[in-house]
Amino acid sequence: MIHFLKASLHEGLLNIREKLGSFLVTLLMVSLSFMVFDIFLVVSWNVGTVLSDEQESVGIELFLREDISEVEAVNLADLISVMEGVRSVYYVSSLEAEAVFRADLPEQADLLILLGPQFHLPSSIQISLHPDYRTSGKVSGLARTVSGMDGVKDVVYGQEYLPGLTSAVDMMGKLVVLAGLVLAISLSLIVANTVRLAVAKRALTVEIMSIVGAPGWFVRMPFLGEGLVTGIIGSAGSLLLTGVISSILSSSIPHDFLPGKWILLVLLLGASAGAAGSWIGMRSGIPKPRS
């Protein structure tokens, strides 16, 4: 078996050596196609990071009626803390709210003095949510539930921006998947066409191999290997090119490059597109012996 594999590898190398020029052109084409995708991923990653930071801060703030005692407020907080989707709750007393106000807005601290000793900032309960619950629909549903609870005066949860944020995050996720699919298909077609040309160029070799008794997989393996190598090297080349562009632009447009997982994903996508392309190319390209 090892001799079989060695001979098959040898065939694959012969395949590449005999048409090195067109192999390099294909690599360049695959790299450039992937580079468009990589740039899209870098932009998506950075926009996604901003959006998820925003989403991280999504929560609900319950302002309580003034006649609610601290004990009642703490009981209410306990009740909310066991509700579905709630990660944690934090009770902010009127005194703590004032202290925060003074610390966060020292230049407006005089305002509290002007309003007199009878004025108190309302006490509140801050609700932090599980990541899955930080969508517009779920937050508003939970907000509706808690707003009907006894002692609640008002509910704030970012009603103005949350629907837009949720749909932007959704759309970004879908866009990445869609672009990935479109690119994988188009790259497969590019690689498939290249392999088909390779098969056509090596029609006599394929024919003679078949006639002298080469098993089908022995004939197909070099082409499959070529597709895989093209996909992996092409996608790695695209990452390199994108990395260079990214580092040139990083001083004028601050951003992060792709994380390790995404880099691996690009390489895997390259390998898959290459293998799929070879498979398509072989199915349509391997000739039947003519006589």
């Binding site: 079989f4 006639i211 002298v212 098993p215």
Partner: protein, 227 residues
């Protein structure tokens, strides 16, 4: 019995390339099949190596039946056959050594075994000095000898030679025919398709005549002289 054709027909659309062929070939036999162009000689060969299957009837080659052959069996069958073509079909980007070694490599022989067998065969066929040459650097006769070496390297039980002298001058043709006779003397069955059966010395072969897809009754060498 090495090869058997039982009432075999092969149609391409409605055109009969071969019709109702009955044929048997015994181990070690030398069979000469002649006939004009388009008579069906190449189709007959394709049916033997199962590059094509009959429209009706049954072909059996070395235990492999056309009605039961699976894709995976084809490579095993073809390793028992050696095939030589009129246009040599050598791989132009490979040396003589690599061309001859190919059937052994695809059969999974070790590089050492491949070298040993190929060197020995090239020496037998007086091609050792050409082992690093490329096909375009060889004469027609040398190219055909390389093609025969490639066909014989894996010790086939049947050698199919489809017009092997068609592109060669008479002297070189004679040498190639002598080579085929020598191969036959070692026990390999040889089936030779040729326009000119008189290349084969009388008494050394069985002769068949194929015309428009029909196999004529066995013809003697004398019979050919009268054709």
């Amino acid at each position: 019995m090495l090869i058997s054709f039982q009432n075999v027909s092969r149609f391409y659309n409605d055109w009969p390339a071969l019709e109702n062929i009955e044929l048997t070939v015994e181990p070690g036999e030398f069979l000469v099949i002649s006939g004009p162009s388009g008579a069906g000689k190449t189709t007959l060969f394709r049916l033997i190596w199962m590059g094509d299957l009959p429209t009706s009837g049954l072909v059996e080659v070395s235990g492999y039946r056309s009605d039961r052959i699976r894709k995976g069996d084809l490579s095993s069958l073809r390793r028992k056959l050696g095939i030589v073509f009129q246009d040599f079909r050598l791989l132009s980007e490979r040396t003589v050594f690599d061309n001859v070694a190919l059937p052994l490599q695809v059969a999974g022989y070790s590089p050492r075994a491949v070298r040993k067998r190929v060197f020995s065969l090239l020496a037998e066929m007086e091609l050792n000095h050409r082992r690093s040459s490329y096909p375009h650097e060889l004469s027609g006769g040398e190219q055909q000898r390389v093609a025969i070496a490639r066909a014989m390297v894996a010790h086939p039980v049947i050698l199919l030679a489809d017009e092997p002298t068609g592109n060669l001058d008479p002297d070189v043709s004679k040498h190639v025919i002598e080579l085929l006779l020598e191969i036959n003397r070692t026990g390999t069955a040889v089936i030779l398709a040729t326009h000119d059966p008189r290349q084969i010395p009388a008494g050394t072969a069985r002769y068949l005549y194929l015309d428009r897809g029909h196999l004529a009754n066995p013809v003697s060498w004398d019979g050919y002289n009268q054709l």
